[in-house]
């Protein structure tokens, strides 16, 4: 008889033996019900021996396993079920709160910009830096996958800049942002502009600890940009509709984008801007409370 067939036969036998043990326990119970305590006790013992027999057959069965591919089922007492209950995004949120506390202590006000690549985040920030650099000591944190193009651009305006290259990641997270904060002289600035990675999806899951969140969309991205990204608009304080000088040519109505944003978030402030013509920059400054 091959090991495989032997195992099959024993598996069958094991099942029967286990069933017999169960049956014997039932008979023991019945005997007890009839007042025959001695018989019941003997039947219990038989059931127990039968259990041990079943276990021995099972164990023999397993040692007859063929080949390395067969997964040996661990016995139940060797399995651990571990309750963890650890929230992953919560960890980010906790660090974000710590960042916020640190920033408040040092009196640094943080405005975070989110928006797709090419929506005009960097140009808007450059315009704000020019407008505000006499009134505030400004710092800038640029998030990008690999380049330093944005950091170089804003750096030319004479403000301290930290570049955060995320490598493969599509968003900044609170931990990365904290590293940027360590590199800045927080006592030397009172306004920090943060540019998140160009993406409207992922940054929504990872708050950094900023005081104000700005979402930037431009009319060149089409008329559905707001409705397609409801969550980020729900959490933003200010929505910027940028490149309005191109609205007519693009056939996209800034007012309909504004309506979409207000519908998703009635408290959001909407500002229509064109960095090219300078329209709306003062309104943006006001909307940010600066």
């Amino acid at each position: 008889m091959s090991a495989g067939r032997l195992r099959k036969a024993l598996e069958h036998y094991y099942e029967h033996t286990a069933e017999h043990a169960e049956k014997l326990r039932e008979y023991a119970e019945m005997a007890r019900g009839e007042g025959a305590a001695g018989a019941s006790q003997k039947l219990e013992l038989a059931a127990e021996l039968m259990d041990r027999a079943a276990e021995a057959i099972r164990s023999a069965c397993m040692s007859l396993s063929e080949g390395p591919s067969r997964v040996i089922e661990a016995e139940s007492h060797e399995i651990l079920d571990i309750e963890v209950e650890e929230s992953l995004l919560e960890v980010n949120r906790r660090i974000a709160e710590e960042n916020r506390r640190l920033l408040d202590e040092r009196g640094v006000y943080v405005v975070e910009f989110m928006g797709s690549i090419g929506s005009g985040k960097t140009s808007l920030i450059e315009a704000l830096v020019e407008k505000l650099k006499e009134r505030y000591r400004i710092g800038y944190v640029a998030g990008d996958l690999t380049t330093t193009i944005d950091a170089d651009r804003v750096g030319r305006h004479g403000v301290p800049v930290v570049q955060l290259n995320t490598g493969r990641e599509c968003h900044l997270d609170a931990n990365l942002f904290r590293k940027a904060l360590y590199q800045l002289d927080l006592n030397g600035i009172d306004l920090l502009l943060v540019e998140n990675v160009g993406n409207l999806i992922c940054p929504a899951d990872f708050p950094l600890g900023s005081h104000r969140k700005v979402v930037v969309v431009s009319v060149t991205e089409g008329e559905h940009m707001v409705r397609k990204h409801p969550i980020i608009f729900k959490e933003a304080d200010v929505a910027v509709i940028n490149k309005v000088d191109l609205a007519e040519e693009m056939g996209v109505s800034p007012s309909s984008l504004e309506r979409d944003a207000k519908e998703l978030n009635p408290r959001i402030k909407v500002v229509k801007t064109s960095v090219k013509t300078g329209d709306g920059i003062d309104e943006l400054v006001e909307a940010l409370g600066l």
Partner: protein, 124 residues
Amino acid sequence: MHEFSVAQAILDVVLRAAHEHGAKRVLEVTLEVGELSFLSLEQLEFSFKVLSEGTIAEGAELKFEVRRASIRCLRCGYEGEASAPEPESHLLPLAVQCPACSSLETVILDGRGCVVRSIRAERS
């Protein structure tokens, strides 16, 4: 691809819990993922598989429990489950729309998280 960093965080949590309990191999990880969390389960599974190679969690099965979103409507005051979004939804606004009055003026109360609930492991 933020599934990669989330998968790394999951792996960290799993390995720590496994070591604390003296496990030699992780068989199963149960995750609770909010339906508004922007996590693609397929990508998460793939990232976890790649990252766990060579660790005691290699080959562990990820089990997902989807946590329903709940919202509060600022217009009619409804509070409870949001409308069910399509799987991998491209119609996300529906998920934040009030099922009672169809308003989009809602606040998300729950359903954005990702929680490692439990792991099943083999004792060493």
